[in-house]
């Protein structure tokens, strides 16, 4: 089977998945073409469930998934074109890395499973002749073995669930380069992550998931700008909070301020970057001492909450 270069490889339409009363994924629609696409969201928002449905491992409660135009749940043949690296750490404890990857090659019907397994392991910087069993490997090495088994049959669609977890910075950089290379070859590479910085380095198209829903989709730079411009709340402790609040409101650096007691000041701002630059000069100007400056919702959850609620 072949697929045109610009055709969507993966299409989800109105996909929902619930487990009893728990809604894991709610009415998600998107299409993904060739290249790297990141599925970003905090832990527990339904990313893995979504990826499982994309691969056919789980049946959507509602909606449809198409992989290369076929139903991955009903058509076992489509899995010939898919490689999956699951999130779970477990691997076959009785096997070596080579045996594990070779097994995948055999089950995919590759004519020379040994050569394919060796090639995939070498591509991941692992020694195919290593006779140690998988449980003796470090977490980072096991992650790379899992990627090797996902790419051994040269899949058209590669689904990687949190592949960068457990890797050191150099391995992480190598892995990102590999994903970008696979994407540049025209493969559809879907990478899930809960770390904004990782996704930034992938420099890819992003799908943001929050609370089971698709919160945003687009180019990373657009989303980054959106995230930077979102309203933020900043807590400042100072010996002159009222004078500081007046000066910042006057200059338009804060859109709201609450003073609590003799030291505490909470500021609402839509321009966090300029506020952070101006805060110290303004304090000096008003002869105020700054004891603490803390962004109250700068964590990833806050970013996602904003994207969902905007």
């Amino acid at each position: 089977m072949s697929v045109g270069a610009d055709e969507p490889r993966v299409v989800a339409e109105g996909v929902s998945k619930w487990f009893g009363p728990l809604v894991a994924v709610s009415d998600v629609s998107f299409d993904i073409g060739p290249g790297v696409t990141a599925l970003l969201g905090p832990n527990g928002v339904g990313k893995s469930t979504m990826l499982r449905m994309l691969c056919g491992l789980a049946r959507p409660s509602k909606g449809t998934v198409r992989l290369l135009g076929r139903d991955p749940r009903a058509d076992a043949g489509v899995s010939r074109l898919v490689g999956l690296m699951p999130q779970q750490e477990s691997v076959f404890e009785s096997l070596t890395a080579r045996e594990f990857v070779r097994l995948t090659a055999v089950l995919h019907g590759l004519p020379d499973a040994d050569a394919a397994a060796s090639g995939a392991l070498e591509r991941m910087g692992l020694d195919p002749s290593d006779t140690r069993r998988l449980p003796t490997y470090s977490k980072g090495m096991r992650q790379r073995v899992k990627v090797a088994q996902a790419i051994v049959h040269e899949p058209t669609v590669l689904v990687l669930d949190e592949p960068l977890t457990g890797l050191d910075p150099r391995q992480r950089a190598d892995m990102i380069t590999l994903f970008q290379g696979l994407g540049a070859e025209g493969r559809c590479v879907i990478v899930s992550s809960h770390v904004l910085g990782e996704v930034e380095r992938l420099g890819s198209r992003i799908l943001v998931m929050s609370q089971g829903r698709l919160a945003a989709a687009g180019d990373f730079r657009e989303l980054r700008a959106l995230m930077d411009d979102r309203p933020m709340r900043v807590r400042v402790r100072s010996d002159r909070p009222r004078q500081l609040a007046g000066a910042l409101l006057e200059r338009g650096l804060a859109v709201g301020a609450r003073v609590d007691g003799d030291e505490l000041l909470e500021l609402d701002t839509t321009d966090a970057r300029n506020l952070s630059r101006a805060l110290a000069p303004v304090a000096r100007e008003r002869d105020a001492r700054l004891y603490e400056v803390l962004a109250l919702d700068a964590d990833l959850e806050g970013v996602f909450r904003y994207l969902v609620e905007r």
Partner: protein
Amino acid sequence: MSTIASTARPRTTASLLALTRLLLRSQVTLARLLGIAGLGALSVLLGLFSRGDENPADAAAEVIATYGLGILLPLATLWLGTSVIGDLVDDRLLVYLWLKPLSRWVLPAAAIIATFGVVAPLTALPLAATALVAGSSDVALSAFGAATLGALAYTGLFVAAGIWFRRAVWYGLAFVLLWENALAYAAEGSARFTVSEWARSILETAPGVDVEGGARSALAAFIVLPAVAVAGWLVATWRYGRADVD
């Protein structure tokens, strides 16, 4: 790159062998082998005690029917059969096997081959040895046949249970102890729905042997027991194809 295509097609036999090897290596641990071999050794020991009986053939057949076919065989098969795929589910390893371009029947078939391949020799040989040490060589062949076909039927049932239920070993234990060995014999005719009844019918083909609960046709048993295994395999395949894989 305008198009990317992967055209390799898995060979079913090669895949079946690879999966069987994997399941054997993953599931057949030394502890399990020693446990089953220990249960088998106990049967041989009981056979030794039967030597002094007035009718050693009947005594040996009784040991084989009650302990061998009623306890050893189902428990050994339960131990391996429910875990062969059940452990893959519990350990979240099934994902590596499900997402492959293979017919859904291949993995349950590999599980049955792997389980039967271990359980049959570890149960049929000790039961045949039980008859031999009791001095009833006539019973040995029928004991071997009864255990082999009984193991096949139980394997199909317990592999299916391992795919269907979490903690299938407990359901299986209740099935063996409550149904196969007790409740099925409480009502007239209900014993025909047990594996052990059909296996005992094969045991009764030995000359001069009359064991409790072996009233079925031995010829029918040669059809019924493999049919139970096939039914278990079909149910396992159906369930495997429809299950959400974690």
